[in-house]
Symmetry: C2
């Protein structure tokens, strides 16, 4: 136990303002003049600097403190520091850069603590048989000329000027206390703005107190897994095909993801019922990856299932992007007490903002607040306030309107390119969203689409094989994002896919009509270029 | 299964550019003109708007879309929208505001969907017997004139202008792709800047690839709990006294926190060894809350313990703030393979930024990357890049130097106020950090300091009772943050505490020398004002 009295008081309130007894001490390299011999301080200091440069604590390019500052901290005359810097300057290790200060310009030739080169994380081939937990990181890290991965809006449209303007305005009036720890649920301003946004665009009536601000849908999924696990829910049924990323997140948190088939009306509620799962995760407004809208009959069936105690997780990931069809209100608007609703700005503005929201049934709300508190004490405050401003001022809405026009043109460019270069492919889900899906044939062909995606990547075009997003055998296909690319890039990328697919038809992957298993459906096959 | 061919293609690429068959449709309130009777469109639209205002989807103050925009989306003549707006204007529910657009100004008197008033979360009395998981939220929400809670730097010193400048510079040159999903480990620029910072100021040599950017130490603790749990570590020993918040975080993640006593040399390593714990969490540079520095002998003992397989979690929460003593290099600099190191900008800049870093032993590194990926896919990009800029430009360092001078003055003001108003109290840990601790007497007095803190809060002064931060009976005391308050506020706050303590001496809580249990130590007791 901490029993002695006054030891800290006595020790700490010494008469020596720079502390450290014999000499001064600096946080910079934890230098302590108490360690230096009295007659050789410049020597000693030069040696300390050499060691720090040699062992990498002072890498090339790093700046040294001003001589005046360091001398004050070490309580030595400025000449001691100047002399030490001068000696390393003579060695060629330091250089003065005028107002830029003194900078490390070279490591010694015989560096004592030379680093062994550390191999970077192996990029890995992202198209193995079973995609690993880091498959999206690996795919993102893979170099490519044209990235047609799904899941991002036109990132070039990010409203940089509006963001800066809003942030300046926020900073101009923010009370200092707001820089401290905040409400783990999020700032009141953003919770209010999100509640208004959801009321206007998603048909959801929510009190701002019901809104939990989270770090994107990824965090929402983790919180949902944690909270529902504690409630005894060990499995959340998912759509099949359905997002691989979502499954990986739930699996990481120890939640099983039994597949439930999706047909042209959306998830098969009879199969959901038969699965016995107590919870299901859905993308009702625009099913990922097929693009199907959950039909009215299915909605009614689902409401019946939920009324018997089922929990619905609604991943409303890209509902605001809609081109050729009527808007679809969120399930949450009908079933507030049975639906955990998750949305984010990842598709509205940018995934890099890592801001989303979660609306939970009342019974779970406190558990979600606790889960968020102990995840990270709540989202960062500044971006929340900036976003709230953009939402409330109408700027986000205006931006979305422009974005949608641009996305539509890109969608059209992709459809035209597919018609030209992949004439036998079937296009799915193009009426809304940021991506579409093409399938080749009606039968599962193991490995066919991963090989196609790998071949396209080898030619510099990045896509998702559809099989990544299916748990059970499914038609080969590709998921193609169009929102982030120009029409020219889209045309070029799809042309490359067409070439690759054409050159592979008849090959072992068998995307052609003449493939070994002989079950091709004429007219749906990726033909030879121009075919 | 999703078997039908072409249904999405056919359905989606309709000739009708606004979609939705009979009429146009808008995301705003999910209006669909297909639902409107042909002869009564303005009527129908006015009805829809009235409903949305009545049921709260359009709260007072929300803006309606411009008539031109809404008319285009609904594919009706602009007159239809103008007429609908006009009718609600006549009801007094809408008002035109020139360029500000049309705004909801009043809810109808007989609101159909009137909300039942929802009780806010009960603020709760934060000073109960056992502090609950939301005790810090409750304390933060409690109104107070002078907040002497520990744990925040001078928030008024946040470099608003430098932050805005750096952000503008970042946005000016950021490639659009950086707005997409990023590396879950953090941006390379910030990992590099943190590695350099840690080398300069904390004696730690780290490759940027070893640095994991996290959402503050709170998230680091959660990740550590998750990763070590998977490695079979179910308990992490903690210092006692030690941070209540840290214990709450670990407990939330299912990790036990056996207490190990702290004395004037820091944690008792013999007691740690006796506890049998495989892991321990420490604040070696400035023990929270006592302010003790881990002594050299203890460091050597700890290294021995770690060499036998013990894992150290180093919470380096305020090491950069140092006034009257030599800097202390981080344990991580000595034991990279036995120490999980956690730091953050919460004490350097602001907790509201929610940015921190975690350096794990190599054996755990991949597991931490996975844990961060599945927590939230990585921190937001913009604040990381802004922070990297402030670190690399030297602005953070300069700011810290100013901050330290200001903090020292505030520390001195608090010590003077304690000498004046709490003359019998013992001050601990004032040589560094953002807070100090005062104790009253040498014996545990259950409930004494929580009652004192509650009484101070009733007088408008917020503090932590020391007993919050002790698992086993400990001397009564208070933990007082000085960094965020002006000298005047500090003097006033401590004077209030002195009055409250004086008026309570002899009372049931027994902080006075004449208390019922009669074990007061004269000279250490909070006396009457001026006594």
């Amino acid at each position: 136990m901490h029993r002695s009295n006054g030891e800290c008081f006595e020790g700490s309130i010494s008469a020596d303002p720079a502390g450290a007894g014999a000499g001064g001490a600096s946080d910079f390299l934890q230098l302590d003049m108490g360690d230096a011999p009295v007659g050789g301080r410049a020597d000693w200091l030069a040696g300390q600097l050499r060691r720090a440069i040699a062992d990498g604590r002072l890498p090339v390019g790093s700046k040294l403190p001003a001589t005046r500052v360091l001398a004050t901290e070490l309580r030595v005359s400025r000449g001691v520091v100047t002399e030490a810097y001068r000696r390393l300057g003579e060695d060629g290790q330091l250089a003065g850069r005028g107002r830029g200060g003194t900078v490390v310009v070279a490591a010694p030739v015989t560096a004592g603590g030379e680093k062994t080169p550390r191999p970077g994380r192996a990029p890995g081939v992202p198209f193995g048989a079973v995609p690993g937990a880091d498959v999206f990181d690996a795919l993102r890290a893979a170099p490519a000329r044209i990235d047609l991965s799904p899941g991002v809006p036109d990132l070039a449209a990010f409203p940089r000027a509006a963001w800066t303007r809003a942030e300046r305005a926020v900073l101009a009036e923010l009370p200092a206390a707001e820089f401290g720890y905040g409400d783990p649920r999020g700032t009141p301003a953003l919770r209010r703005a999100v509640a208004n946004w959801l009321a206007r665009y998603r048909g959801i009536r929510a009190d701002p107190d019901e809104v939990l601000i989270v770090s994107g849908t990824a965090q929402a999924l983790g919180l949902i897994a944690q909270v529902s696990s504690r409630d005894g829910i060990r499995a959340v049924a998912v759509e099949d095909p359905g997002s691989l990323g979502v499954r990986q997140h739930l699996a990481h948190w120890g939640v099983a993801t039994p597949p439930v088939p999706v047909d042209e009306e959306g998830i098969r509620v009879d199969a959901l019922r038969a699965s016995g799962a107590r919870a299901v995760l859905l993308t009702p407004a625009h099913q990922f990856p097929t693009g199907v809208v959950l039909g009215g009959g299915r909605r009614r069936e689902l409401m019946g299932w939920a009324a018997e105690g089922g929990l619905i997780v609604e991943d409303d990931y890209d509902a605001e992007h809609r081109y050729d069809r009527a808007p679809v209100p969120a399930l949450r608007s009908l079933l507030p007490e049975q639906v955990c609703y998750a949305g984010s700005v990842s598709k509205l503005l940018a995934p890099a903002l890592r801001v989303g929201w979660l609306l939970a049934p009342a019974a779970y709300r406190e558990a979600f607040v606790a889960a968020k508190r102990f995840a990270d004490l709540g989202n960062a405050v500044l971006p929340q306030l900036v976003l709230a401003r953009l939402m409330e001022s109408g700027e986000l809405e205006r931006g979305l309107r422009l974005l949608r026009r641009r996305h539509r043109r890109r969608r059209d460019a992709m459809i035209a390119a597919i018609a030209a270069h992949l004439p036998g492919a079937t296009v799915h889900g193009a009426a809304a969203g940021l991506h579409l899906t093409v399938t080749f044939g009606a039968e599962a062909v193991p490995g066919a689409d991963t090989e196609l995606a790998a071949a396209a990547l080898a030619r510099g075009v990045k896509v998702h094989p559809l099989s990544w997003h299916a748990q059970r055998p499914y038609r080969p296909g590709l998921v193609l994002g169009y929102a982030a690319r120009s029409p020219g890039e889209i045309a070029e990328g799809v042309a490359v896919i067409g070439e690759v697919a054409g050159s592979r038809s008849g090959g072992p992957a068998g995307l052609g009509p003449d493939r070994a298993r002989g079950r091709g459906v004429p007219g749906e096959i990726a033909g030879s270029p121009g075919g």
